[in-house]
Amino acid sequence: MYPSHLKYTREHEWISIEGNKAVIGITEYAQKALGDVVFVELPELERKVEIGEAFGVVESVKAVSDIYAPCSGTITAVNEALLDSPELINQDPYGDGWIIEMEISELSGDLLSAEEYEDLIAQEAE
């Protein structure tokens, strides 16, 4: 459920890093906790964001949740399919449910490995 090639944040985003490009979404744990996702607010292209900045919003039937940037940099792509099909985040959080792509200028120093992230959510579940 937590692919080992990804890094994770304590706020339940995942980040896939390739060179200076990052793809970002929310984790299996996050989509499950939210429930049915019915709305996604995406950032504008070329917006610059800082580590920890809220760049978008995911809303389920009951909850409104900010999405935080795991790196600083510039937004280079957004997943427009989510505008009409926000449920992709529930169905495929690491694939078709990706949210944005960024060009990285600086990575957060507090990214977790899959194993560390699983420990974190095991603690939260208690």
């Binding site: 049915d36 919003v57 039937v61 009951k62």
Partner: protein
């Protein structure tokens, strides 16, 4: 906040994989498989809800009817034994203490069914006005309540109950033996669908719950949590205390005028204020609206018109049966006009919405 209260169905919910949350001091299931799926199951087939957290107050004695008539805005003399009545209960200001159902069980015996989060407040309020030959008893803890809602409800319930459900019309009830348990079977609900609310001794609720789930298996019955209960009642524009109703808003503002019997013989608490408001006109009205821009309205968001504040959202959601983002909210009466375009402030941005007819969802009556 102390320990959360648990209904007698708590263990069964957990076994069914429910996600549990706090609601009105109780640990309750918010969803089992998913809010949208559960919502649609109720509209299409049927859903089973644990609503044992609701409060029940027994009012008994020759002074019962006079006490109830003083407390509620609707006219309880209209109901005979076997009938139920919906009513707001007001403060002298006309603001709302709670909204409730009155069941007439006998000549001098009534049940008031009230919201879980308001039960203690209501009980004190009723006790404060108790006069004459009447006893007021909080029987919430020993009373269980299960709601069976949706178009297949009657077929399902008829398998395990010994009364002819055809004879129970809307807002009527009868005593029955259901799955071997003495139950009050009431044709009422909070979803906008046909259905029943069943009351029994709390300790016998699991027996009824299990039997209903089994009887409903081939009819598409699923257990439904508070999440879908909220979206279902929202689409049907049924008000929720703490959202559309509170101590500030009056029943007239909330569009509940038909439940305010200003002409009933007895004086009732809030009458003077409501008469005055009716004569002068309400300053604000509850309206329903549809988002034109992309966004979901939520309780507490501000409503504007031409950059001037005109009100506030009380409930908002993606409406699963309609596929739209809808809201309920209070706006100044002058702006409460069908098709009026209003602005909802969502995360500091003004998004356009249009006032539309409510209820948003109305079932087709056979």
């Amino acid at each position: 906040m102390g320990e959360l209260k648990k209904t007698t169905l708590n263990e069964l919910h957990k076994k069914l994989g429910a996600k549990m949350v706090e609601f009105g001091g109780w640990e309750m299931p918010v969803q089992y498989t998913g809010i949208i799926e559960e919502h649609k199951a109720v509209r299409r087939a049927a859903g089973l809800f644990d609503v044992s957290h609701m409060g029940e107050i027994l009012v008994k004695g020759p002074g019962a009817l006079p006490l109830i008539q003083k407390l509620i805005t609707n006219d309880a003399t209209k109901i005979t034994i076997g009938q139920a009545l919906y009513s707001p209960m007001c403060y002298p200001s006309g603001g709302i203490v709670d909204d409730l159902l009155v069941y007439r069980l006998g000549d001098d015996e009534y049940w008031l069914v009230v919201n879980a989060g308001n039960k203690d407040k209501d009980f004190r309020w009723i006790k404060d006005h108790q006069a004459g030959e009447v006893t007021v008893e909080d029987i919430s803890d020993e009373t269980g309540q299960i709601a069976l809602q949706g178009p297949r409800s009657q077929e399902i319930l008829s398998q395990i109950t010994d009364i002819n459900l055809e004879e129970i019309k809307y807002f009527r009830f009868a005593w029955a033996e259901t799955a071997g348990v003495k139950t009050l079977v009431s044709r009422t609900g909070y979803t906008g669908e046909d259905g029943f609310e069943l009351y029994m001794k709390a300790k016998e609720a699991p027996q009824v719950w299990q039997a209903l789930l089994l009887a409903g298996k081939d009819f598409g019955l699923v257990p439904v949590g508070l999440g879908a209960r909220d979206t279902l009642r929202f689409e049907a524009r049924l008000p929720l205390y703490g959202h559309e109703l509170n101590e500030e808003y009056t029943p007239l503002e909330a569009g509940l005028g038909i439940f305010v019997a200003l002409t009933k013989a007895e004086n009732f608490i809030g009458k003077e204020a409501l008469l005055k408001q009716k004569a002068e006109g309400v300053p604000r009205k509850l309206v329903g609206f549809e988002m034109l821009d992309r966004g979901i309205p939520r309780a507490g968001y501000k409503i504007e018109k031409n950059n001037i504040s005109i009100g506030e959202v009380t409930s908002g959601s993606f409406a699963p049966s309609l596929g739209k983002n809808l809201g309920l909210g209070y706006v100044k009466s002058a702006e409460a006009v069908l098709d009026n375009e209003i602005t909802v402030i969502i995360r500091d941005k003004g998004l356009q919405a249009r006032i539309i007819k409510t209820p948003f969802y109305k079932r087709e009556v056979k």
